[in-house]
């Protein structure tokens, strides 16, 4: 019976072929960027690259399963995830061996562990709870993580004195576990919203707002005459160029700003059309909006390619200093991941738009999803608590004070408070369903800000991570 189903031809093979083709093109592009290093085949960078390929394959297959509903895809998808996890484990092991300490000391090493945990949890959610298409959300996150890792500095750094503590490992392990659990609860909450018959156009509004937010953030770097400011990169020291302490030197890539402005207009169009649809109650606008999403995806891919080509390397002038300065993709990992993230979000919306009934058929029912989301947060919350406590204990030994109101600490406390709010509303006020799902999504947004935003936007003691 299962075999017969496996031999069945997929219903909409073309879409899948396009998707797989796109991801393979993306991978080949990454291969050029990465320039697979020679030497030992089992070294970390090759393992990581293998993990990337497997995760991307798994992501494509999960998407394919979502699109066509072919059950055999899910088997191959989990197989690919397993393979990616094995490669990832080897990369972690290699790193550990090379560095002589568990890989938690820099943002690169933490991403390595985070992606590992995420892949492991995806498999657990799939096997234990039967949430089959969770990979469509978690695998893209894993892919973005691995791509970011390719760009961040990878040399093994000796540990500065403050980091030489067992508590570091305890603290970071707990953080990674907690954050991965939060990511999972986010994915589950999204699926709940699908299963809860939330209108497809609401997803359209959310996706467009997310993408508009991304491009608005990118455009904050817009410079006169259509340039885009990116951080200068010192290739020799593999670090950003600083003018003075904490002040980075920006170079301006000409014309890229116009490109981003154009894409901003393209991603704003569906949102405008959605607003018109709400005001005029005319379904025609919605149809145009969906087409506009498709166009905006193509333009976003174009913007990504242009960005990759121009920011990859090259010399550009700066407004703050004389002469030309080098930049590199490594100098702007967050613009890059934002662009990739925007494309993934829109592709997921298209998947929902085209294949919603199939998706619904393959997801557990809404009640079960709601319950599993809650259970995931029940795991995440104690882990968050212990993570903060371990961090405080370590800070007490290293800096002489268990609480310093450093931005990272403060944001960890904020995350804790948000989830505490969720639990109170759920347990005592009986918040179920949508409101709880929104809360879970908000919680994950705060987690992401704590993890990435604080490191790059707010200064503080957590400078190394």
């Amino acid at each position: 019976m299962a075999q017969a189903r496996a031999e069945q031809q997929p219903a909409t093979g073309t879409t899948l072929i396009v998707l797989v083709g796109l991801s393979i093109a993306f991978l080949l592009f990454m291969a050029f960027l990465n320039v697979v290093k020679s030497g030992n085949i089992l070294n970390e960078s090759n393992m990581l690259y293998a993990a990337l390929i497997f995760y991307a394959g798994a992501g494509a297959l999960y998407l394919g399963f979502g699109v066509t509903g072919t059950d055999s895809y899910i088997k191959f998808a989990s197989l690919a995830t397993w393979a990616g996890l094995v490669a990832n484990t080897l990369a972690v092991a290699h790193r550990w061996y090379e560095a002589g300490h568990p890989p938690f000391a820099s943002i690169y090493e933490m991403l390595l562990s985070f992606v590992w945990t995420l892949a492991a949890l995806t498999l657990i959610a799939e096997k234990r709870y039967g949430v089959k298409v969770i990979g469509t959300v978690t695998m893209p996150v894993a892919i973005v993580g691995v791509v970011l890792m390719q760009l961040l500095r990878t040399e093994v750094h000796p540990l500065v004195p403050a980091l030489q503590s067992t508590w570091l490992h305890v603290h970071v392990t707990l953080a990674m576990l907690a954050y991965a659990a939060c990511a999972l609860s986010f994915a589950l909450a999204m699926m709940f919203l699908i299963q809860d018959k939330m209108k497809t156009e609401s997803f359209l509004a959310a996706t467009s707002m997310f993408t508009v937010g991304i491009y608005a953030a990118v455009l904050s770097r817009f410079e006169r005459w259509g340039g885009l400011n990116v951080v200068a990169w010192d290739a020799q020291n593999k670090s950003e160029v600083f003018i003075s302490r904490g002040v980075r030197l920006f170079v301006t890539i000409p014309d890229l700003g116009w490109m981003m402005l154009l894409v901003f207009a393209a991603v704003a169009a569906p949102l405008v059309l959605y607003v018109l649809f709400r005001l005029k109650k005319n379904d025609g606008f919605l149809a145009i909006a969906n087409r506009a999403v498709f166009i905006s995806i193509l333009l976003q891919i174009l913007a990504l390619v242009f960005f990759l080509l121009r920011a990859r390397d090259g010399q550009y002038p700066s407004l703050d200093a004389e002469g030309l300065y080098q930049t590199s993709l490594a100098a702007s990992p967050f613009i890059l991941s934002a662009l990739v993230g925007g494309i993934f979000a829109n592709l997921l919306y298209l998947l929902l738009l085209w294949r919603r009934p199939d998706l619904e058929r393959h997801l557990p029912d809404a009640d079960a999803l709601d319950r599993i989301t809650y259970k995931t947060i029940c795991i995440a919350f104690p882990l968050l608590t212990l993570m903060i406590a371990a961090g405080a204990y370590w800070a007490n030994r290293a800096w002489g004070s268990y609480w310093n109101w450093d931005p990272k600490e403060t944001w960890a406390a904020i995350t804790w408070l948000v989830y505490a709010g969720y639990l109170h509303m759920r347990i005592t006020r009986g918040w179920r369903g949508r409101r709880a799902a929104y809360f879970a999504i908000l919680g994950f947004a705060v987690v992401m800000f704590t993890f990435f935003g604080v490191t790059y936007l707010l200064p503080g003691l957590h400078a190394y991570a």
């Binding site: 290293a398 002489g400 268990y402 709010g421």
Partner: protein, 484 residues
């Protein structure tokens, strides 16, 4: 009047204890915490940077409202106190109910309760005693102890596990209060934090709290040595300091501290926080060769500041100045910085006989020193700059309350999320047709899925126990049921 006061205070109490107030307070704490990370904060950012970042009017406004030091502002403390009051009020309001539940477990369900209970089953039996025995055995199989409840003319069974989980949420609330108490009250009032810099061989009891404010410790700390180890690329690997505590003139404790391993004495903790050079000289090793006469083997001498070393019967040398990073301007030697980057030493060579002193500079600086007329030629061999160890000193008596709170919270959360209070009741009843049956009911305060599973298991187990034992095929049948 008294009545209205009572009703007003009752109203305040109810508002304070409502979950809505709690969530609003949480939201306020979140908003102000975010403000505290986005707006530059006072003690950490220095005044110049603040002035550069904000306009004067803006800065005046931020300072006046305390937004430049959110976490130490009185209104933030007030907010935290309000949160604590809300937690206390909410707990006090709900605790008596939970306590009654905990202290007086409901052991014999009446008919009303039995009808309303959502999870229940009836198992036909032939004999009350045999039925209850089977239920007891089944409960034991599931590792539940059971208790026989005596009624006027029969028995029933009551069984439960993890009753403590009913109180777990109060444990978590209490733990949070302990943490807040430790940090915001005890440490804010009685705790202090400061800095102490020592050079090897020196001792001090003056801790600098903030600029210009010092605190005198009832004992002194002596530094017996300090050092840095670096990785091959020059980044610091390890800082260490040998410290000794001097109390009443007696050495009472000794420890080599490193980062992450402080010294603790009478609740005061000394942490290795920084390490560096003072820009002064610790020791200089020179080789001295007589400029005239027989060229003997060069003599190696070691100099420390304020020390005069005899070179021969007549001549002696001493260090007059040490410039860690020198620069020459208009025939004068100036120090550019305190880092030992480009050091210069000013030596004075004195001849006793003709009472003549010669200024020698190493390295030779044209127009400044008189190296040519020195009776000895000096070659610098080795230079040890003076180093200091920077100690972070803190006294945080509230931390014990905080750690106690953390442990209690870990236990409380474990019970809140992973341990559920499961109860089963077994009562022999007569059903509608007058037939004898075992009524089995159960409930759990969380994790209903797992509980439903357990309940099904229990019912199956009782049915299995009720089957007559003398049937030969019974064991085989039992395994298939269990394996299913």
């Amino acid at each position: 009047m008294a009545l209205s006061f009572r009703s007003v205070s009752r109203k305040i109490w109810l508002t304070l204890s409502s979950i809505k107030t709690g969530v609003i307070l949480i939201i306020l704490v979140v908003i102000f915490s975010v403000a505290g990370t986005v707006i530059l904060q006072r003690p950490i950012t220095d005044a110049d940077d603040m002035q550069r970042a904000y306009s004067p009017t803006m800065l005046r406004f931020l300072d006046a409202t305390g937004l430049t030091d959110v976490f130490h502002a009185y209104w933030f403390l007030a907010l935290v106190v309000l949160v604590s009051c809300s937690i206390i009020a909410a707990s006090v309001e709900r605790f008596p109910n939970a306590w009654r539940f905990f202290a007086r477990p409901y052991k014999s369900p009446d008919e009303h309760f039995r009808r309303a209970l959502p999870t229940q089953a009836q198992i036909p039996i032939t004999d009350e005693e045999r039925g209850l025995n089977a239920a007891e055995r089944a409960l034991r199989q599931l590792r539940f102890g059971s208790e026989r409840i005596v009624h006027t003319n029969n028995f029933s069974l009551f069984s439960e596990r993890h009753r403590i989980s009913e109180l777990a949420v109060y444990m978590v609330h209490a733990s949070l209060l302990l943490i807040l108490l430790g940090y915001f009250i005890v440490d804010a009032r009685y705790g202090w934090k400061g800095f102490l810099t020592l050079i090897p061989g020196s001792q001090s009891n003056q801790v600098e709290l903030t600029k210009g404010v010092t605190r005198t410790l009832p004992f002194s700390i002596r530094c017996d040595g300090t050092g840095e180890e670096t990785y091959t690329d020059g980044t610091p690997k390890r800082w260490w300091s040998k410290l000794a505590v001097i109390d009443n003139g007696r050495e009472v404790q000794r420890k080599e501290i490193v980062v992450n391993d402080p010294l603790v004495y009478e609740g005061v903790r000394f942490y290795q926080a920084s390490w560096g050079q003072t820009g002064k000289l610790d020791q200089l090793i020179l080789s001295a060769t007589p400029a005239q006469g027989a060229i003997g083997a060069p003599k190696e001498i070691s100099l420390t500041p304020n020390q005069t070393v005899a070179l021969d019967a007549d001549t002696s040398v001493q260090v007059a100045e040490f410039i860690p990073d020198y620069v020459v301007q208009d025939g004068q030697v100036y120090a550019r910085s305190n880092d030992v980057l480009n050091p210069a030493v000013h030596l004075i060579v004195t001849a006793k006989k003709d009472k003549r002193s010669v200024n020698v500079w190493l390295p030779e600086i044209p127009g400044v020193g008189e190296n040519a007329s020195s009776p000895y030629i000096f070659q610098p061999k080795d230079l040890t700059p003076e180093v200091f160890t920077g100690l972070q000193v803190s006294h945080e008596p509230g931390q014990w309350s905080v750690w106690g709170g953390v442990i209690l919270m870990a236990i409380g959360l474990t019970f809140v999320f992973y341990v559920s209070h499961v109860r089963f009741w077994v009562v022999p009843v007569r059903n509608g047709n007058g037939q004898l049956a075992l009524w089995v009911g159960g409930t759990a305060n969380r994790n209903r899925d797992a509980f439903e599973q357990k309940f099904k298991q229990l019912v199956e187990q009782i049915q299995k126990e009720l089957k007559p034992k003398d049937v030969a095929s019974a064991p085989a049948q039992a395994t298939t049921t269990a394996g299913r």
